[in-house]
Symmetry: C2
Subunit: 273 residues, 2 copies
């Protein structure tokens, strides 16, 4: 397994190889969710590239940029065991320049839901993803469905800017208790973790209501909010695959989303129906 | 010569060819300046692609988007005679989508000089150029030195987003009277055209002062402004090749810029020393 920190060195190496590339961009602190992305990449590409970069531009002032978990050595081991060919670990100076041309999230779709809670967050995500996709030039790039809105916006960016890459959404991986895996779960105390389980519970409950024929999203959201109490809920929303809020659930074209604060940790979860 | 209006058709065709591509993006109303870009492209690439697209996002409200000269049939003839292989003539719907991810010019370098006169203009330019470069994926892309700040910002975008293209600056072409060629020259009345000649005159004068050993930019700019009177001058500026305003001219690293209003037509010109 190669470890590369220079963008130009990585570009040069990959262009010389001239093989199909599966790419998994990450912020490190790798868990089973990332491993499942790597596994998907391994199936369908000659080369698998993982990047590990805690992207400063997607953190707002006062967010957890400084304390975001960093575990470079463990991450490299995990990549090696998962059959990764190249780990790209740039520092900030390798990716960012003074007084940059910027990428800005869409006016509407970039500033609702998670984009309303964290205004500017998605612009930072899109900015680094544009850079990374251009450096790696992958055949396929793998993103978790857990960050559903991020995934949707990246798909939009690929469309709007005619990028030659196939974005592959990968199912969320959950712990045995149902909590969606996230690098931020390490912030949770034992008690908070118990409280956090209300999030997947609310989603399973919504899914059950829908199986029972209830399609009015207002009704579903009200019962979800009751289950989530007393958590501070950022949003509960039901959208279609284009991320438009809908009034009635249409199975096969529906994502149910929750964002809630557990202690001081913001957690995201969703199910795709 | 092929005429293509669909972005996906062009992408597909060019990827199949798998040849070196020289690309000249234009807004049509082609003149000798464009032809010299095409000639440069013809020299060093197997395929030459010209795009003709009057990009709405780079016009500010109240600017000349509607009356911008359009001469599709003449332009196609000019391209054919100049040995162009493919003319890409998309309509707006082929390049733009609802609620888009946007490209925004740098905070400083995108909002000085021409960017101060036309705030937002360069964001529109960069946005369409990012799209076009991704569609065409040229080996070389050719831009006129006449739009010096645009050229500088495009070079920055290529660097910041790791695009695999070489940007080739091409010298400004002038009419026999010295006026830099521009599609907007057609707006000038006979009298205005005479007045407009003060622009290249001021630049030649500056160049002569510098040959005579004068390097204080303040002094040079003062004499240029005197020559330009009574035109309404947007700016006279002396910058280095990184587009930073300098106090002393350093030959080999200097661009002298003028923007002035002649009648109701804004004209740009510059010399590189």
């Amino acid at each position: 397994m190669k470890i590369i920190s220079s963008a130009n060195e990585l570009k040069k190496y990959l262009r010389e190889q001239n093989k199909s590339i599966g790419y998994v961009p990450t912020m490190g602190a790798l868990h089973e969710g990332h491993i499942s992305l790597i596994r998907e990449a391994r199936k369908n590409n000659a080369l698998v590239v993982v990047s590990i970069f805690v992207n400063p531009t997607q953190f707002l002032a006062g967010e957890d940029l400084q304390k975001y978990p960093r575990r470079d050595e463990a991450d490299k081991k995990i990549c090696e065991l998962a059959g990764v060919d190249i780990v790209f670990m740039p520092d900030t100076q390798a990716l960012y320049f003074d007084d940059e041309v910027k990428i800005v999230a869409p006016n509407v779709r970039g500033y609702v839901l998670e984009g309303a809670t964290r205004p500017g967050h998605f612009s930072g995500v899109l900015r680094v993803v544009m850079k990374l996709l251009n450096i790696v030039k992958p055949t396929h790039a793998y993103f978790g469905k857990k960050d559903a809105q991020q995934l949707n916006l990246i798909e939009l960016m690929v469309k709007h800017y005619f990028l030659d890459v196939t974005i592959v959404p990968v199912d969320t991986v959950r712990d045995s208790d149902g909590l969606a895996l996230s690098s931020r779960n390490v912030y949770l105390s034992k008690e908070e973790r118990q409280e956090a389980l209300k999030i997947p519970k609310s989603l399973y409950h919504a899914s059950k209501m829908i199986s029972n024929g209830i399609i009015a999203t207002q009704e579903i959201e009200a019962e979800m909010l009751a289950i989530l109490e007393p958590l501070e809920v950022g949003y509960v929303a039901i959208v279609n695959r284009e991320f438009e809020v809908v009034k009635e659930v249409s199975v096969g074209n529906c994502i149910i989303l929750v964002e809630a604060l557990v202690g001081s940790t913001r957690l995201l979860d969703n199910i795709w129906l």
